[in-house]
Symmetry: C2
Subunit: 341 residues, 2 copies
Amino acid sequence: MSVTIKDVAKKAGVSPSTVSRVIAEHPRISAKTSRKVREVMDELGYHPNMMAKSLVSKTTKTIGVILPRPAEELLLNFFFYEFMRGVMAQLTRAGYDLLMAGGNNEREELETVTRLVRGGRIDGLLLLYSRIADPIIAFLHKEKVPFVLIGRSLDYENVLSVDNDNVQAAYDATKHLIAQGQRRIGFVSGPTHLAMTQDRLAGYTKALAEAGLPFKQGWVVEGEFLLESGYRAMASIMSQPEPPTALVVIDDFVAFGVLKGLAELGFRVPQDVAIVSFNNIALAELTMPPITSVDIGTYQLGYTASQMLLSTILQEQIQPRQLIPHRLVIRESSLRTFFPV
Amino acid sequence: MSVTIKDVAKKAGVSPSTVSRVIAEHPRISAKTSRKVREVMDELGYHPNMMAKSLVSKTTKTIGVILPRPAEELLLNFFFYEFMRGVMAQLTRAGYDLLMAGGNNEREELETVTRLVRGGRIDGLLLLYSRIADPIIAFLHKEKVPFVLIGRSLDYENVLSVDNDNVQAAYDATKHLIAQGQRRIGFVSGPTHLAMTQDRLAGYTKALAEAGLPFKQGWVVEGEFLLESGYRAMASIMSQPEPPTALVVIDDFVAFGVLKGLAELGFRVPQDVAIVSFNNIALAELTMPPITSVDIGTYQLGYTASQMLLSTILQEQIQPRQLIPHRLVIRESSLRTFFPV
DNA sequence: GCGGATAAGTAAAACGTTTGCACAACCAGA
DNA sequence: TCTGGTTGTGCAAACGTTTTACTTATCCGC
């Protein structure tokens, strides 16, 4: 049906092996033959069949991304798109494609990974999050499949990973509130089984401790990466006899819920409650008021992770763990001195 | 290296063909043999090599999505993730994977598509937008590759597509403003080479005509899908001797810019200027005031598009064009009777 | 003008499946 | 007992590449 290497060979008057070598730019092909073959390739509109190629070369020029399951879906939300932009930029540059696959539960997810890896469909894998005792990581580790983790592994040493210094980031954010004169600072958290959440919580408590400020259990609310989660957190956290006057929020999207909740309860931001958050998605500057947020370099995260993965696949030497710098972007939501016009 | 069909065959004491037929659930395999072979497969941890399989079957159980280029990135942004959720839900259900690929310019993009299609890497394609005289559509059409378009083709009949009734949607939105007693209604538009923009504009003018309201050229501003676009539009549209008292805005993101622009010019929303918009992204309810927006069922768009694509691949009969219903979500930005507390 | 390197190319096996065809065994009906 | 159909399985070709091992042709120094 489609035009194959044999068709080209026949028309160019050479053998299939020669055509193959022309494509691979094998040194032992004369300039003349090469030119002739390329001419015929153009003429016939030849494109190599990737399946045949992969079958023998055992490489697919494709890397896989396993999508988080429904529960975590919204976690990545806008974050995800920005991350993927970074990934795609790198992959496009290197001539790789990206395969996305999912699964509805942990078993299916592992099954998908097995299928892709053992089925020879991908050369490497990008993991978007890390749970405790993740069976996927265990599997990949055992099979020696190249993979890069966003975040850090809680179970294995030496896993390739790209991360932020989340402890420091949360420390910086909390410090900023303290510098604004805040003394009663709460924390609206994410799922605690994620390394990221744990790290940010650690940075928060560290800053409090250093400043000699109280850590109150009631001022910390666990939740998910959902708008509703932030919204609901306000009901519980702000109904206390002495509610916090400032909040560190795990994620911008959750912060949107926090804004909504506070507005309904009649609290003004930042006059009554100041807010800092994480990720600095594009919408953070569009809310009322705009949200102070830690920019974690989402695009860079994706770009660097892919770069590491490609390097590993090509057997290049790399540093197993890279940190992307963060940056606190200060906007009105955290400024005590802010007075609206 | 990896365990193949031959290994299984040998261990089970049958021929490779038999193993293959067991996997394919061929009717003429005895229950006994089937059981035996499956046992061995489990025991050895066999997983079929997809490359070999695809090579002979000419099918990959993979569908492709071509990412929009930088210029259009923002257009899809908030859309994209929600859309992809719908796509993935459908594909996961059907056991298909998704291949994402990009290109930095029109030439590269077409090259990518050619490579994927001719290289036999995908069974079908999802196109996220439609331009006038799109060479990709021309190519796919010529090659008879199954594909589904989001929106509608301006060049070809009979292209499979999933769309909203954008004319009706804009008609509904405009009608709503008219029902609120508005008489001077403007339109903040997007790029006019997109079918979507043209359709929404048509619905707007239709509603005006029906109500006997004036259509003024100065009340319609063309722009892009950017916040700045809405912001700038206000400067030109509101400086006229008789500016509109209500606006239909092409997209929520643009509407944010409109809000910002109006605030700076000293107009209150909705008291001085009422607003309706499209897409109903999550943030639409978080602005001040919350924005009335037409929900276009983004998730459904993705889900249905994938469904159509899969049906086509399986040669099932389908309706070539499907419309996803829309729904006007009314919030404060459009209510004349709204008085802020 | 010969031996031996070197350059340029070919033939054929291999990659791991699927599938058309052949065939043996069995069974039912006459 | 024969005929003809059905059932279960195996053989080998095919899919479109890459790559190893081999064949020629050419060239060079002596």
